[in-house]
Symmetry: C2
Subunit: 304 residues, 2 copies
Amino acid sequence: MSRGFDEVISKVKSCGMKKIAVAAAQDSAVLEAVREAKAQGIADAVLVGDESKIREIAAGLGMDLSDYRIIDEPDMAQAALTAVKLAHDGEVEMYMKGLCDTKTFLKSVLDKEVGLRTGSPLSHVAVFDIPGYEKLLFLTDVAFMTYPTLEDKANIIRNTVPVCNACGVTMPKVAPLAAVEVVNPKMPATVEGAELTKMCEEGQITGCIVDGPLSLDLAIDPEAAKHKGATNRKIQGDADILLFPDIHAGNLVYKALVHTVPGVKNGCILTGTKVPVILTSRSDTFETKVNSIALAAVVAAELN
Amino acid sequence: MSRGFDEVISKVKSCGMKKIAVAAAQDSAVLEAVREAKAQGIADAVLVGDESKIREIAAGLGMDLSDYRIIDEPDMAQAALTAVKLAHDGEVEMYMKGLCDTKTFLKSVLDKEVGLRTGSPLSHVAVFDIPGYEKLLFLTDVAFMTYPTLEDKANIIRNTVPVCNACGVTMPKVAPLAAVEVVNPKMPATVEGAELTKMCEEGQITGCIVDGPLSLDLAIDPEAAKHKGATNRKIQGDADILLFPDIHAGNLVYKALVHTVPGVKNGCILTGTKVPVILTSRSDTFETKVNSIALAAVVAAELN
């Protein structure tokens, strides 16, 4: 039976190919990922950017462009606006960063006329397939929101639940993480963990089960939960969403997993937008870029 | 060639056995670890606590006590004070928590008359042997100091450098970690990372090389450092000490490593004390407890 990212990719293939608009597509690593995604039946792409450079890079990669729509727009900021408008207008179902700096790219995402605002704040979710953990883990926010407030954290959960749903997790278990699993007034992250739990019980956060504060062992290790006698907890080593206290904690755990766990797989998207946004980093592997496209595609399929 | 914890244990064996005083030794897991440490030639122990209970538990474990000094002190707090005084007076070289709550144990460590104060604040170091990383990694502070100030962070480094030295690392590379590797005034952890680097350059922190702020990939992955073009950094994926912004970031990474990396080994001690202090958690594995004793012993050998 397929599981983890393999399951996500199978699900995407069964939905029919959705399309990505790439902002400033003249980027070798991005074009390679886009080609692979198309070859695997995960997604098609519209390439917006400097057409002559796109053709030159594609030639170097031995990539056949005859099957792609290309929109020539050499100016980076203008290419981003043109590409994001395709997503805004519903011509494509995903939006992806190419050779465009992050600031310009996000400006296009947030553009009031042609951007992808929904009223919800943007947040980032990194989806992990960790050997030994039996389901996907949704880490948030490890890259975008720096010091989320309680309200931000509630919104991060609200942004992340539909991503879980799209990946087949119907009622995700959310672990607001901290160093300890008990409320300590001197540690705001633990207080907020309890408050988020209450907000979920009261119906202010729906479609999920929140149980915080939690330490990471109780969140992801059933043996540890058993050993510590956490039998009264709603999460006992079986969390789906790991909600981090701040970007440092989230990013450091994210990179610890990527750089120390053999065979780990991950993919990331921005959420809180009209369509899923793919914002890969230059240090992401080829596989991570393709996984990110698959993740965006499965979310896009759910939205449509 | 032995490396990692095997190397630490080899080194300890060559130094001759040092002694631990155990506070409230009537604890099955602690007695098992103490027995193993003695069997391996890592450390001997003086067992302070409720003698009848100690003998009962030892009988259940098939543990021969004829070779151990036992001091009968049924009262937990008194047992801690009696045990810590042995360390204070130089009769033993390490101090370890048994069946004693952490608060009472720490009170004994900080006792003005018989405790182990040095004037430096206490901090915790977790030493990791991670398959694929070629040297030991010293994580601090993942369990004790909650929200260290800049001065606290300088002291944490000062506490940790001698532990590295004892493990054979002569000029450790210290990575003050953050989500990003550049100074961002909106992220205090990055500002403090730069300040600690400056303090080291100015000679306020000695015996190590500090290079912060650093993201975790640049700190521990030479390939990532190369890929990101970090050729001007003093640390290029070869850090020894990982200094965390706060306890949440530290503890979450610590538990991510323990609970997701196959074959990982670790041991922990408290530092900033007159002698190394072993404060294992009930959720630590048997191997981790033994490693913690070995770590304390190698530090004790360096001090003597």
